[in-house]
């Protein structure tokens, strides 16, 4: 979510390289976030290949902001 709130949208493989997760692990995380309405997932056809694009929803951005506030309160920052 830290990556997604800082950008408009990104392609799955690019997000995977940025957060250094495996395909399956990132896929599971994205599915969980999508079910919570924190991210939207869209498929786009580029030539013969289908690319998956992920972007944070306003609900996800707000939830991440709350999460950060809580972490800062715990950390005493």
């Amino acid at each position: 979510m830290a990556v997604l709130v800082a950008i408009d949208e990104c392609e799955f493989s690019s997000l995977r390289e940025t957060v250094e997760l495996s395909d399956s692990s990132l896929s599971q995380n994205v599915t969980t976030l999508e079910k919570s309405d924190y991210v939207t997932v869209s498929k786009r056809q580029v030539g013969r290949r289908t690319h998956t694009w992920i972007s944070a929803t306003p609900t996800g951005i707000a939830a991440f902001a709350r999460h950060l506030e809580t972490l800062r309160a715990i950390a005493g920052i």
Partner: protein, 146 residues
């Protein structure tokens, strides 16, 4: 003695540091956007200069302004990570350049080529300013609050 409160605080700090690292990595991957704006600024300078004479009338300037927008949009779609508000930023830069171009055309005398060169550079400053801002801005883990 390490208490559970201390370990929680350390854990929270670790998570915040990881989130910051992730945002820094995202900022690195979207660095192309700043260069894209600067390149657009360099492209519009000769267009502004050409708009001085009958070579590039007002209608052609409108076409160029739209071409810059459409071209940048197509380029951004080809990238795998698109920075936040990139389309709006490009729209603002393009809009300001176009308004400045119209103002300059009406204010700067036709024969004053040196002044028009200065004016062309001034008109393209939104691209350079926003490009430099995109290149130099650092992520601060500031997610917008609800």
């Amino acid at each position: 003695m390490i208490t559970s409160k201390d370990s929680s605080a350390a854990g929270a700090r670790d998570i915040l540091a990881l989130a910051q690292d992730a945002q820094n990595a995202a900022a690195k991957r979207t660095r192309w956007f700043g260069w894209c704006l600067i390149l657009a600024g360099l492209v519009v300078i000769p267009v502004t200069l050409a708009s001085r004479g009958p070579l590039l009338p007002f209608v052609a300037c409108v076409v160029v302004a739209f071409s810059v927008l459409i071209g940048s949009d197509a380029f951004m779609r080809s990238r795998r990570m698109v920075p936040k508000d990139s389309k709006n930023i490009f729209l603002i830069a393009d809009g300001i350049w176009f308004v400045l171009l119209i103002v300059i055309q009406s204010l700067v005398p036709f024969g004053a080529s040196a002044w028009f060169l200065v004016a062309a550079v001034v008109a393209s400053t939104p691209f350079f300013a926003l490009g430099i801002r995109a290149l130099t801005s650092r992520s601060r883990l500031d997610a917008p609050s609800s």
